[in-house]
Symmetry: none
Subunit: 204 residues, 4 copies
């Protein structure tokens, strides 16, 4: 009582209040899903009170939105850098494909949340997230198209469809990947990028 009761848990230790909230929310939303996690549970795990949460975030929805934002922004930055490299298009696509796998595995909780709970976002925020994601996809697609026009990639499969084909694998990671398994994120990234690039080679 004298100094405030520190009943906090794992997340409570370090960082500012908003950081602790985001960290707790990320873990819980990934574990139980957005709708099955109550605001009470999030604030308890973060070691703060409800009032504090509503001081920093406008709503539970906002919390979800912020979780998305962080990884999405990082992945877009990576892709922008990769696509602007001075290297053959096949190499750039391979690097981009590998990178999205590696970063998704490094932030597996966010990935799970992204694909499971995006439809729970308020329409407006959903549009905003989708817009950012679309931007990512378009950049990726334009690289595929470049490869097709250079004759490095097969042209009988629409570039759009190639992107949808590959990003399914990213979605799926949250379902099967285990941090304590044998494969590192790099392993999976390399294998998946290999499978993609090989599948894209012109057919004889």
């Amino acid at each position: 009582m004298a100094r405030g009761q520190r009943t906090a848990e794992a997340e409570a230790g370090r960082g500012s209040v908003p950081e602790r909230l985001l960290r707790a929310a990320t873990r819980l939303f990934a574990e139980r899903g957005f709708e099955s996690t109550s605001v009470q549970e999030v604030v308890a795990a973060a070691g703060v009170t409800k009032g504090a949460m509503y001081h920093y975030f406008g709503s539970k929805d906002d919390l979800l939105y912020e979780v998305y934002g962080r990884v999405l922004r990082m992945q877009t930055e990576h892709l922008v850098e990769i696509s602007s490299r001075d290297a053959p298009v096949a190499e750039r696509v391979h690097a981009a494909a590998s990178d999205v796998i590696v970063t998704s595995i490094a932030n597996l909780d966010d990935t799970k949340i992204f694909f499971r709970s995006m439809h729970q976002l308020a329409p407006e925020k959903q549009r905003s997230v989708r817009a950012e994601r679309r931007q990512y996809h378009e950049l990726f697609r334009s690289m595929v198209e470049q490869g097709q026009s250079e004759g490095v990639f097969r042209s009988d499969v629409p570039a759009d469809l190639v992107v949808d084909y590959f990003f399914g694998s990213v979605h799926h990671l949250g379902t099967w990947y285990r941090q304590d398994g044998q494969l590192t994120g790099d392993d999976v990234g390399r294998h998946f990028a290999d499978l993609l690039i090989a599948g894209l080679r012109p057919q004889s």
Copy 2:
């Protein structure tokens, strides 16, 4: 009573009560997600009362479970038939890959529900669904392994990983495929199967 109050809606018209409930639930769960759909909404769409629903289904969870079961059983049957065909392994894998895409698109609502809401199922039912899904995966994987041992498929990527790679695309369908778009389910099935098979060819 003689008049009967037909407050029913779309789903109410045809079929038995459980059928109407499953139809309504499938549509609503796909549209809004499982947790955001109330039992009240389901029974209203089916044109029955809550009591009737609980007469046939033990819980809201049960409804979700039944939705899964139907498509899962069908896809497993298909795969069993395909894998037992007397054809080269590459052809069989192509047919299986194409089939799962085609049937997932033909039951797109169920597919959306499957991948978005499975984690909301009660643990026991979740295990049951996972077990059936695993069975499917193992059958698929064994075909890939056969191709590898025959030298038809590359062996530098674990067969397990190939299955996880491809089934991501199935997951993802619900996110981007539009029934009113230009591509039919067959188109997508063929293209995705092509990309997979090409990606699996031994690397020179």
Copy 3:
């Protein structure tokens, strides 16, 4: 299937349908309380259907009412017989006190139900049961009064109060008596009757 599924349980075996229902209801009401036992549970334990129950009993309430009736009628008959015996009043009171303990222990489930659930009965039925119970009490009280006017029992405690005092012990049996304990119903009956009679002796 061929001959109807006998999923019945303990109660199902013997007796007519109404008998089986009463037996099942008595056991379940005593175990879980009237309000916490559903009609469905009663009919399942009796091995019949809900329709059958409503054929024989007008309501769930009726079931409770019948349970009461049986023991109450028996105890009243016993008391009438005992009170008309040609024996000293102290002996008759002792016999009556002992008898109500013995029969209550022999029908312990009914006793539990009686004292726990009577207030759940519909007002009309409650009045009817109370009337029968009051009749019993009055007969008992008149014996106590007779003892008082004969000078065999102390007169400084109102006879009414003596009856309320003693019947508390009957109430209470369901709370502590264990069929598998050391004391038989006869033991308890004798001891309690002894305590009562001794307490009633004129004070010097």
Copy 4:
């Protein structure tokens, strides 16, 4: 808002929210029984909302549990004080017997609830209440045993049984005692204690 909707009733007037809730619950549970009283009825009588109730009490069960606790604790305190008095054992037993009657009548609603609804409590809480009650009984029994070893009380009836015998009368109070009758709690306490003590005297 400025006006505030005072739909409150009897209990609403005074005291904190939890106090008002306990007061309302005590009255209603005694009147209609625990299972026949809805949470809605309790909060309406207390003049608060359901949310407020669940802010202070974990469940409807908790409300019942708290009702028990208060009287039980008071009675135990009384007994501890009485049993430690420096007075002949017969006097102490008389005082204890009288006290439990007097306090039970002074809190007649709680007494009714206690004996009618305890079996509806969740198992864990039931154990807790039983444990406290057992403690009370043991203390009472040890006084009886002391009287027996001193030769002040008869020894042909087990002390255990004496306690069960007498506490039946406490149970029963809720059934017959009327606040507006002729007998005060003190009257009943004295008479019942007299009957008990007289019954316990060594038989010649």
